[in-house]
């Protein structure tokens, strides 16, 4: 029974982590797919979102309201970043984009340190989302994490409807597969770019806000998630939202479940000292091995977006 509890708990944690990773990756993969722009500073937007929400939360005292108010602010921050800096880099090669957005990370992380200080901020879980709920008799799970799963699924659904069923989504898909043709048809692609970028920033920010109460809100908090998102995008296929959804869940599950159970599993198969030595290392390497395997057998990723 204990084991089942643990497995279910870790699986749900993995799904929750994967969904948050999806929110983050969705914007990144769109920007890459449509604008062919490598934005390493996407993690800084996630961080900014979390800081905005934490600050507003401390003013208004309600987490949902804080998130609702912080979303447009993060959208605007994304638009400003796109307008001031990134716009000049669409026509540049990937190396230039990597270098420029690396500079942007240094700037934004340090800016956060200046404005909010280096010490982590804590966001309290609101009362109505705290505590644990009984899923099936005998097995409980934190309410807040369940709420994150619901939020992630809801946003994924809305995103699917937006991209698959609306005119805007059609333009986004068309832009991803053949930018020149969309431009030739008279669509203001620059405006579309700016909008998509701000939207992606808001999604990344939402992920940062949502996990704020679980982790701590601090400068450079986005760096780690950026690397994971790049793994997600490579596995899922550049420019594919569906791909990053599947890949994000895969990465979330493999990473969480791997870290929880692989060391224990190794102990049963290897001598204890060896297992203790390689277990944790192998567990944190799993997703990178997964990525290497995908690249070997499907270099375009699992769900490659059609490229023009």
């Amino acid at each position: 029974m204990l084991n089942l509890t643990l497995v279910l708990n870790q699986a749900l944690n993995g799904v929750q982590f994967g969904l948050m990773l999806f929110l983050f990756s969705a914007g990144l993969t769109l920007v890459l797919g449509i604008m062919n722009l490598v934005n390493l500073a996407h993690g800084s937007l996630y961080m900014l979102g979390a800081f905005f929400a934490a600050t507003i939360y401390s003013w208004v005292g309600s987490l949902p309201l804080a998130i609702l108010l912080a979303l447009p602010v993060t959208f605007l921050a994304g638009v400003v970043v796109e307008f001031v800096v990134l716009r000049s880099f669409y026509q540049r090669d990937h190396l230039d984009q990597v270098l420029a957005t690396f500079g942007l990370i240094l700037f934004l992380n340090e800016l956060a340190r200046v404005v909010w200080g280096a010490a982590p901020l804590n966001m309290a879980i609101p009362a109505f989302l705290s505590g644990r709920v009984e899923l099936i008799p005998g097995i409980t799970y934190p309410v807040y994490r369940l709420a994150l799963i619901a939020l992630g699924l809801l946003v994924a659904l809305l995103l699917y409807l937006l991209v698959a069923k609306t005119k805007l989504g059609m333009l986004i898909r068309a832009g991803a597969s053949n930018r020149e043709m969309v431009e030739a048809l008279g669509v203001d692609i620059r405006l579309l770019f700016t909008g998509v970028f701000g939207f992606g920033a808001a999604l990344a920010g939402l992920a940062g806000m949502a996990v704020g109460p679980l982790l701590s809100v601090e400068p450079a908090m986005g760096d780690g998630v950026l690397i994971l998102a790049l793994v997600v995008i490579v596995i899922g296929g550049i420019g594919s939202i569906r791909g990053s959804f599947v890949a994000a869940l895969l990465v979330g599950l493999v990473d969480t479940v791997g870290r929880a159970f692989l060391p224990g599993l190794l102990v049963t198969m290897l001598p204890r000292t060896l297992a203790n030595a390689v277990g944790p290392a192998l567990a944190s390497m799993l997703i990178y091995l997964l990525m290497a395997a995908v690249l070997l057998f499907r270099p375009q990723g699992l769900f490659p977006a059609a490229r023009g």
């Binding site: 880099f89 270098l99 990370i105 690397i227 490579v234 390497m285 290497a292």
Partner: protein
């Protein structure tokens, strides 16, 4: 050829200026500068090696710190396990880093462009987590050791001796790099960067050429890592952190991607920039970030461009 000559002049001046650093630093009783420039020269070797693949080969690696860290771990682990002979240590560094570069290169060069950037980054992360997981060696915090590699007739524990040891290695790496870039192999490599399809049509095995360049660069960076471990008498996963890979790219950017000597200038200027800016404010990165963006925007050819105003003798790195 004029451009090459002015690069040669600059190279001579910079290397000579570096050579008198210990003398000057001791004269003004500021031995701190000897250490500072030792570290700069070690990073210069790493940046130099990175430029072979990024600048000359057109392969944008965002995981070069992996080799820096691997070299450092090999020397550090040898030290704490009783192997102190320098030739044995650096022999191990060369073999292990070359082997790792061969595996990473063979896998990542199947891709190109963006996936290449990400997969090199991922391999570096992989190594980073191996370092973190080495709990018996401090995990996250790394480990320290006492002493430096033992080479017959050299006392590397002496700061000035170690400085000149690194200086000589930097000079050797530079000489090797000029030989490589000037050779037929180097010409083919630059050809691959400009138009890989054409090189293949000429019947050259472009994949093997790129892989060879990747292995050379990785091994040279591993040597820099071995020096770094010696210098700091400390090894930690921080050497493999992805921001170190970014720092190395930035050094090459500042110096210029299209010259052999550029990364050395870049490493020096980057450190000086850090020194000067941090004198003004502890939040110096808030100034450094925009400076980097402006360099990419307006001075993409780097500082070496000033010394090569005429059309570059070595075809410049374009944006295409």
């Amino acid at each position: 050829m004029k451009a090459l000559t002015s690069e040669a002049v600059l190279r001579t001046i910079v290397m000579a200026a570096l050579a008198i650093v210990p003398v000057a630093a001791l004269a003004v009783h500021q031995p701190f500068y000897i250490e500072m420039m030792t570290r700069v020269m070690i990073y210069a070797i790493a940046a130099l090696s990175l430029n072979l693949i990024v600048g000359f080969g057109g392969m944008v690696s965002f995981g070069h710190a992996a080799f820096l860290g691997l070299g450092a771990y090999v020397v550090g682990l040898a030290m704490v396990n009783g192997l102190t002979d320098g030739f044995a240590q650096f022999g191990l560094v060369i073999v292990i880093c070359a082997a790792f570069a061969l595996i990473v290169g063979a896998l990542s060069l199947r891709t190109g462009g963006l996936p290449f950037i990400m997969i090199t980054l991922a391999f570096a992360q992989l190594l980073y987590f191996v370092g973190v997981a080495l709990r018996q060696y401090g995990g996250d915090d790394g480990f320290t050791f006492r002493g430096r590699s033992i080479f017959p007739g050299l006392d590397l524990k002496d700061g000035v001796t170690f400085f000149y040891f690194v200086w000589v290695l930097l000079a050797l790496c530079l000489a090797l790099m000029y030989r490589i870039v000037g050779s037929r192999f180097g010409t083919a490599l630059r050809g691959i960067r400009s138009n890989e399809r054409r090189i293949r049509a000429l019947g050259l095995p472009s994949y093997r050429y790129k892989l060879a360049a990747f292995v050379i660069a990785g091994t040279m960076c591993g040597i820099a890592g071995g020096l770094l471990a010696n210098f700091a008498q400390f090894v930690s996963p921080a050497y493999i952190h992805w921001s170190v890979s970014g720092d190395l790219l930035v050094m090459v950017l500042i110096g210029g991607f299209s010259s052999v000597f550029g990364p050395v200038v870049g490493a020096i200027v980057y450190r000086l920039l850090e020194e000067i800016l941090s004198g003004y404010t502890e939040h110096w990165q808030i100034i450094l970030g925009p400076i980097l963006i402006l360099i990419v925007l307006f001075a993409r050819k780097g500082l070496m461009d000033i010394f090569a105003r005429r059309p570059a003798s070595v075809p410049g790195v374009g944006h295409g």
